[in-house]
């Protein structure tokens, strides 16, 4: 499944917008833990790698960066499918490992790839 307009029509984007909290000044949408895992499942379903993500917290009503993030860059010579699988695994690990309980409210913004990897 390919992606059309990356900002409007994907199943992933729709889910993120419906369930997420917009991060002021950015196109990020912060998701809670469960919604983030659901969004990840959608990304896996449609074959979109997750490039990384940023964790936010809410302080005095405003989302603030926690400065905690992760990324998954494609290695040289890495097969597209291998990269996609690894990106999803790292995203899942990052979401699960984040110390959610340390924050009264924390959200995570997933940054997806612009398009599915070229099949090989």
């Amino acid at each position: 499944m390919g992606l059309g307009d990356r900002h409007s029509s994907t199943e992933f984007d729709v889910f993120v917008r419906e369930h997420g909290c917009p991060v002021f000044g950015t196109r990020d949408f912060g998701l809670n833990r469960d919604d983030a895992l659901s969004a990840l499942a959608i990304a896996i379903e449609i074959g979109i790698p997750i490039l990384g993500g940023d964790f936010y917290t809410i302080e005095r009503g405003r989302m603030r960066p926690t400065h905690i993030s992760w990324y998954a860059d494609r290695f040289d010579c890495e097969r597209a499918i291998d990269y996609a699988n690894r990106s999803w695994a790292e995203a899942k690990k990052a979401i699960l490992d984040f110390p959610w309980s340390d924050y009264s409210t924390a959200l995570v913004a997933l940054v997806r790839a612009d398009s599915p990897p070229v099949s090989e």
């Binding site: 002021f24 000044g25 950015t26 196109r27 990020d28 490039l51 990384g52 993500g53 940023d54 405003r62 603030r64 960066p65 400065h67 993030s69 992760w70 990324y71 998954a72 860059d73 494609r74 940054v111 790839a113 612009d114």
Partner: protein, 651 residues
């Protein structure tokens, strides 16, 4: 004074560039930081360099290019695999006086340049590659180049001058219009959004000139790249600009400049200091009595700042008039778009009959004739989009043959004379888009912190995508090239002064009332400026302050040099995640201009608990709807140098 050269380890070379097409190119460098490999769309190119950093060979498949240099490391010959050659000849003082393209077959193209001092004044097409060898004056133009652009163009026909035009330039120095001796607008030029290629000429209605009779090819438009050196990757997208590699696709240098580089020819280009680019410093208005001195340019009859490419900018022009060493009066001129007399829009279309000899519409004289000598050096008070063109010359003046870098270039030069700098900012720049100036909230704070010194403050705005360019300089401060960029850019506000009395307080109301767009819309900000002027007026009265300012300069520059060694961005890369976020469009908090990185020196670096490092550069930024916020531009890199967070954080 920051003269010590930072170690080369402080270099930042781009290991890869992701183009708008999605193509990622990678580059390799040797231990002396010369590019030796470029894996680009067309394939992998390998290069060799000599000990001086001169590229000797380039190989790409069956293609092979040999570059040859003289003892001064000037590129004198480029030999291609098919036998075609590019040859350059230099005169004894280092000026490139001839360039010949000799194809493997067919006629050659030969051009010669003649100089007045360091400025090329005459370009002759000896052979045009079509009609065989000839030397014709039919296409001859004489440029009187004083600073940014040809200011005076004599049109010749068969060797006889037929008329004279004055060029009017935008803030980037591109010639936007020509004006005749009577002040009539005779031509308006437009350019494309890439690299200033001419897209059209239009004559004024009152003196319409058929397009066929207008100069279609303006050679100086392209000299920023074309004459800086041979293509590194012939026919590709990379160019040799001095010692640096310029990528036309991404409109940026791949290799970083090298402050304090060694002697010889410019192996390392370095930006000049910011404030030396203030308009008016060593401007063409300086007569023989001007502080610039040594220019050998006579006082021009009936000079008018409106003829000097100062449209669209707030400038002050120092103008001494009188016998050498005894200036008897001076003026400061300001041009403000939209000011009464130039029309509501301030655009080129409203030039009307053109400026007059007394200053012209839109120009206001704010400082008149001083009553009695001595005449202290003017302070400089400039408010401009970063950075409006300067018209100064490097130390040594335009007659210094090194200025030309061995190439006939109209590249503008900026004076460095007499401007103590507090070190805010790190380069001069140009913007094509002249509209919109934003005053930072810390403007006055810095002004007060450094009374009497040059102050530079920066505001960042992302309201439009801009094409711009930065002039780059070699280690001696001579213009060596132009660094183009195309991105969301920023506007800066400069306050600068050196010795001498402050700007007359009486001028403040005029400034404030006349330039609401330049001084930002907010009245509070205008009040701050006025307050700043008052502060400055009260504090700067003696040369003691000047001495202090020099001391501050030394301290600050030393600090800057130290920070250079510890550049946050050394050996870093953006992750794919960040690159994706950076592509999200103007006004997006991940997408602020890369030029912010140039202000690393005013940022603070902290180490986070996981070993990551955070750089926070204070500044202001606007969302796409134009609302401004104060905060910090934040970069966070991990222990591997991967920058995975890049965002503007509201404070």
């Amino acid at each position: 004074m920051g003269s010590a050269s930072p170690p080369r380890a402080s270099y930042l070379h781009r290991q890869q560039v992701t183009r708008s097409s999605g193509q990622t190119d990678t580059f390799g460098y040797n231990t002396t930081h010369d590019m030796v490999m470029a894996a680009v769309t067309s394939g992998t190119h390998t290069m060799t360099v000599d000990a001086a950093g001169n590229r000797q060979t380039e190989n790409f498949g069956a293609e092979a290019v040999d570059d040859r240099y003289d003892a001064d490391h000037r590129l004198t010959e480029v030999v291609f695999a098919d036998g075609s050659q590019l040859q350059r000849a230099f005169d004894p003082v280092g000026r490139c006086v001839q360039e010949a393209w000799i194809p493997a077959s067919g006629p050659s193209v030969v051009r010669r340049w003649y100089f007045d001092g360091a400025s090329p004044t005459l370009e002759v097409t000896v052979a045009d590659g079509v009609n065989g060898v000839q030397e014709s004056l039919a296409a001859l133009n004489v440029f009187s180049i004083e600073g940014a652009a040809p200011l005076l163009i004599h049109h010749f026909s068969q060797g006889v001058s037929t008329d004279t035009s004055w060029s009017l330039t935008d803030t980037s120095g591109w010639v936007r219009a020509l004006m005749d001796d009577q002040g009539n607008l005779v031509q308006h030029s437009t350019y494309d959004s890439e690299f200033g290629l001419v897209t059209g000429h239009a004559g004024a209605a009152s003196q319409a000139t058929p397009l066929s009779q207008l100069p279609v090819a303006w050679p100086y438009l392209y000299k920023g790249l074309r004459l800086l050196g041979a293509d590194v990757l012939h026919g590709k997208t990379l160019y040799q600009a001095g010692a640096r590699i310029f990528d036309a696709d991404t409109a940026s240098y791949l290799t970083r400049s090298f402050p304090g580089g060694g002697g010889g020819t410019a192996k390392f280009d370095t930006p000049n200091s910011t404030l030396s680019a203030i308009d008016g410093e060593t401007s063409p208005f300086n007569g023989p009595g001007g502080a610039a001195g040594g220019r050998g340019i006579p006082v021009m009859p009936s000079p008018s700042p409106s003829k000097k490419g100062n449209f669209g900018r707030l400038v002050k022009v120092r103008w001494f008039y009188g016998p050498a060493g005894a200036p008897d009066w001076r003026r400061i001129w300001i041009h403000i778009p939209g000011f009464p007399g130039i029309g509501g829009s301030g655009g080129w279309g409203s030039l009307g009959g053109g400026p007059s000899q007394s200053g012209g519409p839109g120009f206001q004289q704010i400082w008149g004739t001083p009553s009695t000598p001595p005449f202290p050096v003017l302070d400089i008070w400039a408010l401009r989009p970063i950075g409006s063109k300067g018209t100064g010359d490097p130390p040594g003046g335009p007659t210094n043959p090194r200025k030309a870098k061995g190439m006939p270039s109209t590249g503008r030069t900026y004076g460095t004379r007499g401007f103590p700098s507090t070190g805010y900012g790190s380069y001069v720049g140009d913007e094509v888009t002249p509209t919109g100036v934003v005053l930072l909230s810390d403007l006055v704070a810095k002004w007060r912190d450094h009374p009497g010194r040059c102050i530079k403050c920066h505001g960042f705005m992302a309201d439009v995508e801009r094409l711009g360019s930065l002039l780059v300089y070699d280690e001696r401060g001579y213009a060596a090239g132009r660094d183009y960029f195309r991105e969301k850019s920023y506007t800066a506000v400069d306050l600068a002064r050196d010795a001498g009395p402050p700007l007359a307080l009486a001028a403040a109301p005029l400034l404030l009332s006349a330039a609401p767009s330049l001084f930002a819309a907010a009245s509070t900000e205008a009040a701050l400026i006025e307050d700043g002027i008052e502060q400055e007026s009260a504090l700067i009265e003696s040369e003691v302050a000047v001495t202090e300012s020099v001391e501050v300069v030394e301290t600050t520059e030393a600090t800057s040099a130290a920070r250079e060694i510890e550049s946050f961005f050394a050996n870093t890369r953006y992750t794919s995640k960040v690159l994706e976020q950076m592509s999200w469009g103007h006004g997006e908090f991940h997408s602020f201009p890369e030029t912010v990185r140039a202000f690393e020196e005013v940022g603070t670096v902290t180490t986070l608990t996981d070993g990551a490092t955070r750089l926070s550069i204070p500044g202001s930024y606007a969302t796409s709807n134009g609302n401004w916020y104060n905060g910090a531009f934040v970069f966070i890199k991990d222990v591997y140098g991967m920058i995975n967070q890049r965002f503007f954080e509201i404070l």
